[in-house]
Symmetry: C2
Subunit: 265 residues, 2 copies
C-alpha cells in the first residue's frame, strides 16, 4: 500500500511548502504535523529545537509515512543533521534547496539571508552556500518581529514596512542581489520586502525548490504513489484546530477542513 | 522546616512579580519556574494553557513549595479556576489583585484592560471587575505585538510607539481613566503607554498588589518564614538558561545567577 509524505513544522508556516508539493505532485497523499502548542521554535535553544523536532519525527514515523519533509527553517537548520544521523527514512529539509537556488541566482556573489534568531545563529544557510561556492559573500539578519506580524495579520500594514526597513536597510546598502527568505512565514511579506530591497533583488522562497527535491527523491527511491483515486490530505496540530484553521487561510488562501488535534509527546 | 513560595510563569515576565514579592517579603525563600520551552501561552488555546499550567503546578508541588503564585496573566485568566478546583495548596493569581486595584482607582467608572489574545478572550478581568462593581464599564483590547516588542528589546523604539498608538487609540477616545496592564511584559512599555493614554490615566501593574496578597495569605495561614539566615532564591526554566538570563536582566535590572534548566513534563 502507498504511504503518505510526512511534513512537519513548528506551526503553520510549513503549509507554504505543502502548497508547492501539492502543486507539483497532486496525486501524493500528505500528512502534515504543526506543533502549534509549542510554537515558535525560532526563539528557543538548539537543544530544545532538536528535542521537539525528534518528537515530531517520531510522531510522523508512527503514522507510517514514506518520507519526511522538515518544512521549518529553524528545525532544518538545527535538528535535521541529528534526525538524519538517527533515522533511516528519506529526509528533506528547506535549507539546502534554498541555498542551491540562491547560489544559482546570484550574479554579484552577495547573498542575504533572513530568518529567525535560531536559524541565523546556526549559520546553516551560510555553511551550505559556502559549500556550494566558497567565493560567495553571505550577509545574515535575524528578523524576530516578522512572524508575529504575519500572525497578527499585519502583512500589509505601514508598521510592517517600518519594521522591514529597520531590519533590511543595512543589507540593501551592502548590495546583495539575492535574498533568501529563510522562514516559511516570510513569503507573506514578499511585497514589502521587495519594495525595500528594490526590484533588482531576487527573493528566494525555498518552497518550490523543496517540492522539486521531494519529487526527485521519491522518483529515485521508487516511492511515487501508484494507487489511483483521490489522494488523502491529513493535518494534525498539537493545539486547538480552530486557531490553526483561521491562520491557515492566510497561508493557503483556502479553508482547511481535515484538521485534528493530537498530542505529539 | 520552612518552605519556599512557588511562582510560575509562561516564561520570563513573572519576574516582575518576583521583584515585588522580594521587596515586600525580603526574608522569604522563592522558587520560580518559567516555561521558556513552550512560551508564549497567550496565543494558544484554553485547553493547552490549562494543561501547561497544571504541569507547572505539579512541578512546583514536587519541589515542596508552601504556596503558588500564578504570575502569568494568561494562566491566571484561564487555568487558575481549574488549579483551584483540584489542588489544596494556597493559590494567588494576578487577575483579582489587578482588578481590585483598578476598581479602587477609577473615578469615572471606565476601566481599560490590555493583555494577550487568550487573556482578553477569556473575559477574566471584566468578570472580576463586574463582580466588584457591576456599574463599571470595561473596555478590552488584545495587544499581541507587545510581548515580541519587549523581547526584541525595542521598548524605547519609535515603532513601539506606532504599534501602541494603533492598539490604544480607541481606548483613549473612549475616555477610560484607568488602564490595567494585563500582561507581565507590559510594565516595560509603561512610558510609551502613558504618553499615548495621557497623564490623567492611571496605569495598573498588578505586581505590587499581588505581593500584598501574598503577604496577607501567608500571615493568615501562619506560613511566614520563621528561620533566620539568608533566604534562598531558585530559578528553573524549561529552555536554555543563557537565553533566560539575557532577557531577565531587562526585567530585573540585575543579573540572575541561580538558574537551572529542568523538564517540567
Amino acid at each position: 500500500m502507498d504511504k503518505p509524505i510526512g511534513v512537519f513544522d513548528s506551526g503553520i508556516g510549513g503549509l507554504t511548502v505543502v502548497k508547492e508539493v501539492i502543486k507539483l505532485l497532486p496525486d501524493e497523499d500528505i500528512m502534515y504535523f504543526g506543533d502549534t502548542a509549542r510554537v515558535p521554535y525560532g526563539i528557543k535553544s538548539r537543544e530544545t529545537i532538536i528535542k521537539f523536532s525528534l518528537e515530531n519525527t517520531l510522531f510522523l514515523l508512527q503514522k507510517d509515512v514514506k518520507m519526511i519533509v522538515v518544512a521549518c527553517n529553524t528545525s532544518s537548520s538545527l535538528a535535521l543533521p541529528v534526525i538524519r544521523k538517527h533515522f533511516k527514512i528519506p529526509l528533506i529539509g528547506v535549507i539546502m534547496p534554498g541555498a542551491k537556488e540562491a547560489v544559482y541566482a546570484t550574479k554579484n556573489k552577495k547573498i542575504g539571508v533572513i530568518g529567525t534568531r535560531a536559524t541565523i545563529n546556526s549559520g546553516a544557510y551560510e555553511e551550505e552556500i559556502k559549500r556550494l561556492d566558497s567565493s560567495i559573500k553571505v550577509l545574515s539578519q535575524a528578523c524576530p518581529m516578522f512572524v508575529p506580524l504575519v500572525e497578527e495579520g499585519w502583512s500589509n500594514d505601514d508598521i510592517t514596512m517600518k519594521i522591514a526597513e529597520k531590519y533590511l536597510t543595512s543589507m540593501k546598502k551592502a548590495g546583495v542581489d539575492t535574498l533568501i527568505l529563510g522562514c516559511t512565514h516570510y513569503p507573506l511579506l514578499k511585497q514589502k520586502i521587495q519594495v525595500i530591497m528594490g526590484k533588482g533583488v531576487k527573493l528566494i522562497d525555498s518552497a518550490q525548490q523543496v517540492a522539486v527535491e521531494v519529487k526527485q527523491v521519491l522518483t529515485q527511491e521508487g516511492l511515487l504513489r501508484r494507487e489511483k483515486g483521490r489522494p488523502t490530505r491529513e493535518y494534525f496540530v498539537s493545539d486547538e484546530v480552530a486557531i490553526f484553521q483561521k491562520i491557515a487561510k492566510r497561508f493557503l488562501g483556502a479553508d482547511l477542513k481535515e484538521v485534528r488535534k493530537v498530542s505529539n509527546v
